[in-house]
Amino acid sequence: MTDTVLETQGLTKYYGSTLALDNMTVKIPRGCICGFVGRNGSGKTTAIKLLLGFLNPTAGSSMLLGCDSQNLTPALRQRIGYVSEGHRLIRWMTIAEIAKFQSAFFPGQWDGKFFREMIEYFELSKKQKIKHLSTGQRAQVSLALALAPNPELLVMDDPTLGLDAAIRRQFLEGMIRLIMQQGRTILFSSHILGDVERVADRLLVIDKGVIRADCPLEQFRRAVKKVKFVFSQPPPANINLEGLLHCKTNEKELELVLVGTADEKIAEWANSAGAKDYQPVNMNLEDQFIEYTAGPGQKKPFSWEGI
């Protein structure tokens, strides 16, 4: 059993002349729940499709469970659950029929009782046709179909897109249930940071095709800071503070967004720059994400040393 379930090395994808994914190099360890966040069009779906062998990379490589994505063997696909973008299934089938279809591919692995329980929990009837389900209900069925074979690795592309709060909650509960089992790993992309914060313990941030962060969630939370400085004269134009991401000046005030800067360094700089006072601004995960990905695209993720 490998310790790294997902690994990419310089994974790059061009659509014609458009760069969709730029040099993605990440390592996802076993047993973690990795939230893959990024704005619309930042490259999440491209990355996920590349990982599952649905797209061919322009450069670089990726491996799932130790096997090259471009050559995923049937035995490996048996261990990987996948909820695709939009969670489209087979329109004309009923829930019961698609369960039967899906279970045929996982002999000995399929947990029919679990599937029935999930469907019941989601208040769906097995006689309903997929085409008559709402997006949210389809997401639920997709999740149940992906979880019932007890996968080692679950990859989900924006599974809660378009779901209302109540259904999202049920969906997350389903995910938590999988997490409870040892050795399971989940990678899911989302732009609902509240969900990510609840469930993920690892964060993967992508912006304009570039991976900006690949670290434990807690590390990101501690590292991204916003500090407001008050000056008695106009603040200095040149700011020499390590970890500076961007700054905003407003008459006598200065707002800095910093990454990985130790509190002592901030205090030091405030002193040397002659600030009257400074105050950290509280941010939740969503605020941190917005600040971190604001501005023109960055080429490299920040170094996380020393946090």
Binding site: R77, Q78, S84, G86, L89, I90, F101, A104
Partner: protein, 230 residues
């Protein structure tokens, strides 16, 4: 187990078209026979269907198969194209490929299941209906003159034309080009093949051309499907 499940799904999806196609040919065929049963039919030329039987142009009997031939051709081609659309165009439209292809199964096997279904669905119903109609046509006293045996083979060859169009439409469905550029090239190829077999007097040539064309298209299909991005 897995292959069967996939095959069953594909067959289920193609079922309505089987019924429709077989129904059309059976209905028209029967009507044709019944309308031409009257003894002492008057006029003297015959053509089964222009591709293969020009050589018999000067026989002086009427055969009801004048219209069965075209019906069979059109139905076979229509069925071929429809099935290809169902199997290869619609999953795109409904974005079902990602679910369908994330199977613990070689991609080539998925394609095989689809193609096997297409092959069975085109040849079996139409072939059976044609066999039935032909058998009717050879019963003594049913028609003024019984149908020649050669027609039987010709009928089956017409059905295989449907297969050629099926493969062509499948290739077109998988092509990522724009419809106004090279997407429909394979359909044009299918049409060209039909033209090529037309007028072949020796049925052996018809068989050779169709089999070669099918082989070429099958190779292209597998190539395309295995490498394609979804």
């Amino acid at each position: 187990m897995k292959f069967l499940a996939l095959l069953k799904k594909e067959l289920r999806e193609c079922l309505p078209w089987i019924a429709l196609a077989a129904g059309i040919v059976l209905t028209f065929g029967t009507i044709e026979f019944l309308s031409k049963r009257a003894p002492g039919a008057a006029y003297f030329h015959y053509r089964f269907f222009n591709p293969f039987s020009e050589v018999d142009r000067y026989m002086l009997i009427t055969y009801p198969t004048e219209s069965i031939g075209p019906i069979l051709t059109l139905t076979a081609i229509g069925l071929g194209i429809t099935l290809a659309i169902r199997q290869f165009w619609m999953p795109h439209y409904f974005k079902e490929w990602n679910y369908l292809l994330h199977r613990p199964m070689d991609r080539g096997t998925v394609l095989t299941a689809k193609l096997l279904t297409g092959f069975l669905v085109i040849t079996v119903p139409l072939g059976l209906v044609w066999t039935y109609l032909f058998w009717q046509g050879t019963r003594p006293g049913f028609l003024p003159v019984p149908l020649p045996a050669r027609h039987f083979v010709e009928g089956w060859l017409i059905v295989t034309q449907g297969l050629v169009f099926y493969l062509g439409a499948a290739l077109a469905g998988l092509s990522r080009a724009k419809w106004y550029t090279t997407k429909l090239v394979s359909l044009a190829f299918a049409l060209w093949i039909i033209g090529a077999v037309a007028g072949q007097r020796l049925l052996v040539w018809v068989v050779i051309i169709i089999v070669t064309a099918a082989a070429v298209m099958l190779y292209q299909l597998f190539n395309s499907f295995l490498k394609r991005e979804f």
